[in-house]
């Protein structure tokens, strides 16, 4: 049994119960949205007659956890929404605001029916009559693909719930669940204070199940094949598969489906291997952690294993940073980008992220403030938990892990200014036209 499902692997006729990988990506074709006919041919129909309670028990037995980054147990959320007073709404979250992650965009663009199946099943489980599928507005391919898929489903009378689409703002915090609910109510793309939780009071003040689209795709498979099948891959604590977006110095970057717990080295090999000696690997996107290249051989891609290295899977974005890149320039640009993406509403985040970005920039330019490193350490320690959302936590984590992993390079820049590699093309990307305001955020 292979442990890595190479991206876009085309499979011959499916067995009744699929074995091994890929699972979520099984129906994937080469760049074309998978239509209803092929979807049904590969996955079969969703079994009818599974009641809400039974479905939730099944999800719990499967051990499914949220794939948006927080890994919250899906069954717990389903139960909370089912129990809440009032008619529930399902919000399928495809706003993948993390610039390094491409998996949700891939699902919406190429495998819309699996996501829509999962959303319809979730709606049945929580007693919702309405599903909203949210994506980032610039992702017009997702919109086209979803519209096409919904048209096919209406013609074939697949669903008994109503679907609508929502184009969210393109901001880093746009997909944060309370920020998304705020936008659906006509408000800004900014998180709100909880409680109330969305499970109690969300869209139109109704109990709202917000689930990442990869979670819903997995739900669609669990409903078909059961919990025992789901647990054939992964570990006791972390079952099933995960989609990862691999970027950087590998021969064939892209989205891969891996078994939870797969060695990082196997993933790199599946991507055609590394193209240059590496300095470090970033795991978990811009809210993630750096692991030095020397430790690649020890790393397994599960939260349990990553926690031993102070890392977490997060959104599943992984970047292999070549030793030719300048980690100081790379991470400073990201810190500035994240600082400019604050929702501008919580004081500690507004001031703390700007101060961190400004101070890092000074270090990178060779003109650090006298207490730069002590300030950065203190702010990174003080910031977590002090915003309405996890934005300050994420930035603090990213900066702390960057300073720790690349301590020598940061101190070298502080003393000597930019290095030759500073002006190289950026590996760590973010949406064009943003966060170039290097001239000291206020």
């Amino acid at each position: 049994m292979s442990t890595i499902g190479a991206k876009a692997a085309r499979r011959p006729a499916m067995p009744a119960t699929p074995v091994g990988l890929p699972r979520v990506l099984r129906a994937l074709e080469h760049g074309e949205p998978v239509g209803l006919a092929r979807h049904m041919e590969v996955h079969g129909a969703v079994p009818s007659g599974l009641g809400g309670r039974a479905l939730i028990d099944l999800v719990e037995a499967a051990g499914l956890a949220g794939r948006g980054g927080a890994c919250f147990p899906t069954a717990t959320k389903l139960r909370a929404v089912r129990k809440a007073r009032g008619r529930a709404i399902v919000l399928a979250n495809g706003c993948e605001s993390e610039p390094l992650s491409l998996k949700d965009a891939l699902l919406l663009r190429e495998l819309p029916h699996l996501v829509l199946d999962g959303a319809a099943i979730a709606a049945g489980a929580v007693g919702a009559d309405e599903v909203i599928v949210a994506f980032e507005a610039p992702n017009t391919q997702a919109r086209d693909s979803l519209e096409q898929a919904l048209q096919e489903r209406r013609a074939a009378r697949v669903d008994s719930v109503g679907f609508s689409l929502f184009a969210a703002e393109e901001r880093f915090l746009s997909g944060q669940e309370t920020a998304l609910i705020s936008q659906l109510g006509g408000g800004p793309a900014k998180p709100t204070f909880v409680p109330p939780r969305p499970t109690e009071r969300g869209v139109r003040r109704r109990p709202t199940l917000v689930q990442n689209v990869e979670t819903l795709a997995n739900l669609a498979l669990i409903a078909r094949h059961g919990a025992g099948w789901y647990r054939e891959l992964g570990s006791e604590a972390e079952s099933g598969t995960r989609l990862v977006t691999l970027a950087g110095a590998v021969a064939s970057p892209g989205v891969f489906e891996i078994e939870c717990g797969t060695p990082l080295a196997s993933l790199l090999a599946a991507a055609g291997g590394i193209e240059a000696p590496l300095a470090a690997v970033l795991i978990g996107g811009y809210f993630g952690s750096w692991l030095p290249a020397a430790r690649i051989g020890e790393i397994e891609l599960s939260n349990e294993a990553l926690a031993r290295h102070g890392a977490a899977f997060g959104c599943g974005a992984i970047v292999a940073l070549s030793a030719d890149s300048c980690p100081v320039a790379e991470t400073t640009r990201v810190a500035i980008y994240l600082a400019t993406e604050t929702a501008n509403q919580c004081g500690p985040c507004v001031h703390g992220t700007a101060a961190i970005a400004r101070t890092l920039h000074g270090v990178a330019e060779g003109s650090p403030s006298p207490s730069a490193f002590a300030d950065l350490d203190r702010w990174a320690a003080e910031l977590p938990g002090r915003g309405a959302c996890h934005h300050p936590n994420g930035l603090a984590r990213f900066v702390a892990t960057s300073l720790r992993t690349f301590a020598r390079q940061f101190h070298d820049h502080a003393a000597n200014g930019p290095c030759d590699a500073c002006s190289a093309e950026a590996v760590l990307q973010f949406p064009a036209g943003r966060a170039h305001a290097l001239a000291g955020p206020a």
């Binding site: 709100t192 204070f193 509403q345 919580c346 004081g347 500690p348 001031h351 915003g387 309405a388």
Partner: protein, 64 residues
């Protein structure tokens, strides 16, 4: 009971840190850093007073 700040509501008046310095200190910009642990019995009254005194009602006393 625990103290918790609604960071969206807080504008950094800093009154709370004056009223319960045992549990709240201010950061470099005057925003409170609140001890996340249980409020000890002998500080309950002070903590309650600080929550009531917050000009933006952003300091909350919450049940465990």
């Amino acid at each position: 009971m625990r103290l918790r700040v609604n960071p969206i509501g807080c504008v950094g008046h800093g009154l709370c840190a004056e009223l319960v310095p045992e549990l709240i200190v201010l950061d470099d910009w005057g925003y409170p850093i609140v001890n996340p642990g249980r409020v000890p019995d002998h500080l309950q009254t002070h903590a309650r007073r600080a929550a009531d005194a917050c000009p933006t009602l952003a300091l909350l006393m919450e049940q465990d």
